[in-house]
C-alpha cells in the first residue's frame, strides 16, 4: 500500500506549523487551519484505508531525525485513535478561527496548535522507540505552550502549566524507561522487533515494564492518582486547545497502555489487568465525584474526563482479564466497548469543552455560580452543551449510551468463570460503572441547570451574547456527530471491531448483520439504537399530545389561574436566591464528605454596637483535590525543604566555592589512589 497519506499528514502538519509561526496575523490562523485540515484529511484517508484492508501503512526513512530516522507504521488499532484525533482536530481548529480573534492568534499559539494536532496524528503511527518518544514530547511541549497562551491574563495558567510540565515529564520518564528496557532486551528499537523478543523476557522485567507504562501513560490519560495536572491544565488552556487535550490527547494514554500491554508485551497475567481495572475504578469514581462537586465549568469537564478515562481503563482491564482467562468473546466485547467509549468521549467531551469555551468567551467567567440563564442569550451554544451533556450522561438516543451498554455486556458476560478474583473485579467494575453513571448525571444536570437555565447571576451573564457563527459551527458539527453516533453506532462498530480483532483475535459481531441492530457474537446481546430512539420519539410525542389534549378538554378546574411561586410574601426575588452549583452539589458533597474532605468556613461579623446585630455572614467552601492535598503537597513541601537547606551551601562567597573545589579534588584523589 502506498504510504502517501502518512507523508502528506507529516508534511502538511509541518507546513501548518511553519505557517502558524511565519504568516502575517491576518492570514495566520486560517492558513494554519487549512493546512491542518489537509493533514487531518490525509490521516483519515490513511486510517480508513488501514481499517478497511487490515494491513499497515509503513513509512521508514533514515532522514528527518538524526541517527535513528523515522519509523512509522499505521496499524488498525492506531487508526482508530488517528480518526478520533482528526475528527476532533478539524472541528476544534474551525472553532479556533473564531476564537483566535480574542488574543489567541499569536505566532506561538498558532504554531503550537498545528504542531499539537500533527504530533497527535502521528503518535499512534510511531513504530520505533525514538520516533514514538520524539512525537510524544512534541505533543507534550506544544500542548504546554497552549496552556500558557493565556498566562498574561491569568495567574493560574502559569501554575497549571508548571504542574503539567512536571507531571507530563515524570510520565514521559516512566515511558522512556519502560521502552528503553524493552529495546535493550530486544537489541533493536523497532516495535516489531520488541514484540518478537518480549516473550522471552523474565516475568519480573515484563511486570516492571508494564507497571512503568501504566503509570506513564496513565498520567497522560488522567488516571487517578496521576491526574492532578489534568483539571488545572485542561481548565486553563484556551477552549479549542482544551477540547483537543481532553478529546484527543488523553486517548493516547489509553493507546499507550494498549500498545505496551497488548502489542509489545503480548498480554500478561491476570494481576496486571486487575491493576489496570483498579486504576480505572478509582479514576472513574474520583473523577465523577469531583465533577459532581466542582463549580468551575471547565474543571468539572476535566474531572469528567478523568472519570471517562477510568471507565475506559475498566474496559481495557476487563478485556485483558478475560483474555488471560480464555474468555475471548467477552474480552473482545470489553475492548470494543473501551474503543467505542474512547471515540464517543472524544466527540462529546470536545463538544462540551468548545461550548464551555464559548461561554467563557461570552461571559469572561467559568464559575457556574456567576452564570445562569445562558440558554436564552446563547441558544445555539446552550443546545450544543445540552447535547454534549446528554451524551456524557449516557442517555439512550445519544452516543454515550451505546458504549456503556457494551461495557456492561462485556463485564456481565465475562462472569461465568472459575476465578474468584475475576468475579470480584467484575462486580466491583459493574458497581463502579453504575455509581459513576449516577454521579455523572448529577454533575451535568448541575452544569446545564445552573449554567444555562434559571436567571443570570452576574452582569456578565446578563450581557452575554451568542459567539460568532464559525465557533457555533465548529462545536455544532461535533454535537451532530454525538447524535449520529448514538443513532447509528454501526457506522463505526465495524471498524472498531476490526481494530479490536487485531488485538484479541475474535470478532464481536455475529454473522447476522444489519445497519440498525447490533447482535453480539457468542453472547446473548442485541441492541437496536435506532428503534430505541424511534420509540423514545413516539413516547415523547404521545406524552406531549395527551398533555395538550388534557389542556384543551374541559378541565375540572375551569378557573385555573397561574401565580408567582409562594416566597413568604417576599417582594424582591433576586437571582441569588436560585440554586447555585455549590448548593446543588451539597447533598452529594455531604454524603461523600470523608472522600472529598471539603474545607468549610462560616464567618459571621457583628455590628460594632451589639453582637445581636449581624453585619454579614460569609460562607466559604473549597473542595480542592484530596490527592493533591494529601499526596503531592507534602511531597512538594519536602522537596522545597531540601531545596532551602541546599541553598545554604551557596552563599556567594568565592572562597567557599574554592574550598568546595579543593575538597572535591581531595576526595577524588583519595578515591582514585
Amino acid at each position: 500500500m502506498s504510504n502517501a497519506p502518512l507523508i502528506v499528514t507529516g508534511v502538511a502538519g509541518l507546513a501548518a506549523t511553519i505557517a502558524g509561526g511565519a504568516l502575517p496575523r491576518r492570514v495566520r490562523v486560517w492558513g494554519a487551519t487549512l493546512l491542518t485540515w489537509v493533514s487531518c484529511a490525509a490521516a483519515i484517508v490513511g486510517a480508513v484505508d488501514v481499517l478497511r484492508h487490515g494491513d499497515s501503512l509503513i513509512l521508514r526513512s533514515s532522514q528527518f531525525i538524526p541517527f535513528t530516522g523515522v519509523n512509522l507504521a499505521l496499524k488498525p488499532l492506531g487508526s482508530v485513535f488517528v480518526i478520533a484525533t482528526a475528527v476532533v482536530a478539524v472541528a476544534s481548529t474551525l472553532y479556533w478561527t473564531g476564537y483566535a480573534k480574542h488574543g489567541f492568534s499569536t505566532r506561538s499559539a498558532s504554531a503550537a496548535m498545528a504542531l499539537f494536532v500533527t504530533s497527535m496524528l502521528l503518535v499512534p503511527a510511531a513504530a520505533s522507540v525514538s520516533t514514538f518518544l520524539i512525537l510524544w514530547e512534541l505533543m507534550a511541549l506544544s500542548s504546554l505552550l497552549l496552556v500558557l497562551t493565556d498566562q498574561a491574563r491569568r495567574e493560574e495558567a502559569r501554575s497549571a502549566a508548571q504542574w503539567y510540565a512536571v507531571m507530563t515529564h515524570v510520565g514521559a520518564a516512566a515511558i522512556l524507561l519502560a521502552l528503553v528496557i524493552l529495546s535493550t532486551h530486544a537489541g533493536s528499537q523497532s516495535f516489531d522487533a520488541i514484540a518478537l523478543h518480549s516473550r522471552q523476557l523474565p516475568s519480573g522485567v515484563r511486570a516492571t515494564v508494564f507497571l512503568l507504562a501504566v503509570a506513564g501513560f496513565g498520567s497522560k490519560a488522567g488516571a487517578v492518582p496521576f491526574h492532578v495536572w489534568l483539571p488545572k491544565a485542561h481548565a486553563e488552556a484556551p477552549g479549542p486547545a482544551s477540547a483537543l487535550m481532553s478529546g484527543a490527547m488523553v486517548n493516547l494514554g489509553i493507546y499507550g497502555i494498549l500498545l505496551v500491554g497488548d502489542q509489545l508485551l503480548g498480554g500478561g497475567p491476570v494481576w496486571w489487568w486487575l491493576v489496570v481495572m483498579a486504576l480505572g475504578v478509582v479514576s472513574a469514581l474520583f473523577g465523577a465525584l469531583y465533577a459532581a462537586t466542582s463549580t468551575d465549568l471547565k474543571r468539572l469537564l476535566a474531572y469528567s474526563t478523568s472519570d471517562n478515562m477510568g471507565l475506559i481503563l475498566i474496559a481495557l482491564g476487563a478485556s485483558g482479564l478475560f483474555a488471560a482467562n480464555g474468555n475471548h468473546a467477552a474480552s473482545s466485547v470489553a475492548l470494543v466497548a473501551g474503543l467505542l467509549m474512547m471515540l464517543n468521549h472524544s466527540v462529546f467531551k470536545s463538544t462540551l469543552f468548545l461550548a464551555a469555551g464559548s461561554v467563557q468567551m461570552a461571559t469572561g467567567s467559568r464559575n457556574l455560580d456567576r452564570l445562569g440563564g445562558l440558554m436564552r442569550r446563547m441558544p445555539v451554544t446552550g443546545a450544543i452543551f445540552l447535547v454534549g451533556a446528554l451524551s456524557v450522561s449516557a442517555l439512550p438516543p445519544f452516543n454515550g449510551f451505546i458504549g456503556e451498554w457494551l461495557l456492561f455486556q462485556g463485564l456481565l458476560h465475562g462472569l461465568p468463570t472459575t476465578s474468584t478474583a475475576i468475579v470480584i473485579a467484575v462486580l466491583v467494575g459493574v458497581g463502579a460503572l453504575a455509581l459513576t453513571s449516577g454521579l455523572t448525571v448529577v454533575a451535568f444536570v448541575k452544569a446545564t441547570g445552573v449554567g444555562f437555565l434559571g436567571r443570570a447571576r452576574s452582569d456578565e451573564a446578563i450581557l452575554a451574547s451568542e459567539v460568532p457563527r464559525v465557533m457555533q459551527l465548529g462545536a455544532g458539527l461535533l454535537a451532530m456527530l454525538c447524535v449520529l453516533l448514538g443513532l447509528l453506532p454501526m457506522l463505526v462498530l465495524g471498524a472498531l471491531d476490526r481494530a479490536a480483532r487485531s488485538v484479541t483475535g475474535t470478532s464481536i459481531q455475529s454473522p447476522v448483520r444489519g445497519w440498525s441492530a447490533l447482535h453480539l457474537h457468542g453472547l446473548h446481546g442485541v441492541i437496536a439504537p435506532l428503534l430505541l430512539a424511534a420509540g423514545l420519539v413516539v413516547v415523547t410525542a404521545l406524552a406531549g399530545a395527551s398533555r395538550r389534549r388534557a389542556h384543551r378538554s374541559a378541565s375540572p378546574y375551569p378557573d385555573l389561574r397561574s401565580t408567582d411561586p409562594w416566597a413568604s410574601g417576599r417582594q424582591l426575588q433576586t437571582p441569588r436566591m436560585q440554586y447555585t452549583a455549590t448548593s446543588y452539589a451539597e447533598p452529594v458533597q455531604r454524603v461523600f464528605d470523608d472522600v472529598i474532605r471539603p474545607a468549610r468556613d462560616v464567618d459571621v461579623s457583628h455590628a460594632a454596637e451589639s453582637r445581636y446585630y449581624i453585619e454579614r455572614i460569609s460562607y466559604y467552601s473549597t473542595s480542592d483535590d484530596l490527592i493533591e492535598r494529601k499526596l503531592y503537597r507534602p511531597f512538594i513541601a519536602i522537596v522545597r525543604w531540601w531545596g532551602e537547606r541546599a541553598r545554604s551551601l551557596q552563599n556567594g562567597s568565592v572562597h567557599r566555592y574554592l574550598a568546595y573545589g579543593l575538597f572535591a579534588l581531595v576526595v577524588i584523589l583519595a578515591v582514585i589512589a
Binding site: 378557573d559 389561574r561 401565580t563 408567582d564 409562594w566 416566597a567 410574601g569 417576599r570 417582594q571
Partner: protein, 162 residues
C-alpha cells in the same frame, strides 16, 4: 399554675361552650362552598399584637376554635381565608397582596380588630396605608379593640356553620 386557676379555667370553658351553643349556627352565604371547614392564614399587617393575643386565646385550650372546623395553617397555599389584623402599613401592602394572590379560590378575607376596619389610633400615621378594606375586599369583619375570643369564634362559626 395553681390548681385553683386550672379549675377556674375549666369552669370558664364550660360556661363558654354553653354560651357558644346558644349562638346561631347559620352559615353565611359566602361560605357555603367551604362545607363547614375553614383553613385560615393569618397576616399581621401592622397590628399592635393585641389582636394576635386574642387569636391565640381563641385557638388555645380554653376556647378551642378548632372544635368548630377552623384551623390556622402555615401557608396561604393551604388556606381558604385570610385573617388580617392591624392597619395595613406601607411595608405590608405588597406582602399582603402577594399572600392574597397565593390563596387558592374560592377565598375569603376576614379583617379582625378595629384597626383593620378604620386604622384605630394609628389613623393618619406616616407609615399607614389604610384599612384592610382599602387594599382587599373584606367578607367578614370582627369588631373590638381587641375583639374578645368569643367574638372571634362567633364570626368564624358564622363561616363554618358548625
Amino acid at each position: 399554675m395553681t390548681i385553683r386557676t386550672v379549675l377556674q379555667a375549666l369552669v370558664h370553658r364550660q360556661r363558654v361552650t354553653e354560651d357558644l351553643k346558644m349562638a346561631s349556627s347559620t352559615r353565611s352565604p359566602s361560605a357555603v362552598s367551604l362545607h363547614g371547614s375553614l383553613q385560615l392564614r393569618h397576616v399581621d399587617a401592622g397590628s399592635c399584637n393585641g389582636c394576635e393575643m386574642e387569636i391565640n386565646s381563641a385557638f388555645g385550650p380554653v376556647y378551642d376554635a378548632e372544635r368548630f372546623g377552623v384551623r390556622l395553617v402555615a401557608s396561604p397555599r393551604h388556606a381558604d381565608a385570610l385573617l388580617v389584623t392591624g392597619p395595613v402599613t406601607k411595608n405590608m401592602v405588597g406582602p399582603l397582596l402577594k399572600t392574597f394572590e397565593a390563596l387558592p379560590e374560592p377565598r375569603l378575607v376576614i379583617s379582625l380588630g378595629d384597626c383593620a376596619h378604620d386604622c384605630g389610633v394609628f389613623r393618619g400615621g406616616y407609615g399607614v396605608e389604610g384599612a384592610v378594606d382599602d387594599v382587599l375586599a373584606v367578607d367578614v369583619h370582627v369588631a373590638g379593640c381587641p375583639p374578645h375570643p368569643e367574638a372571634i369564634i362567633e364570626a368564624l362559626r358564622s363561616l363554618t356553620g358548625q
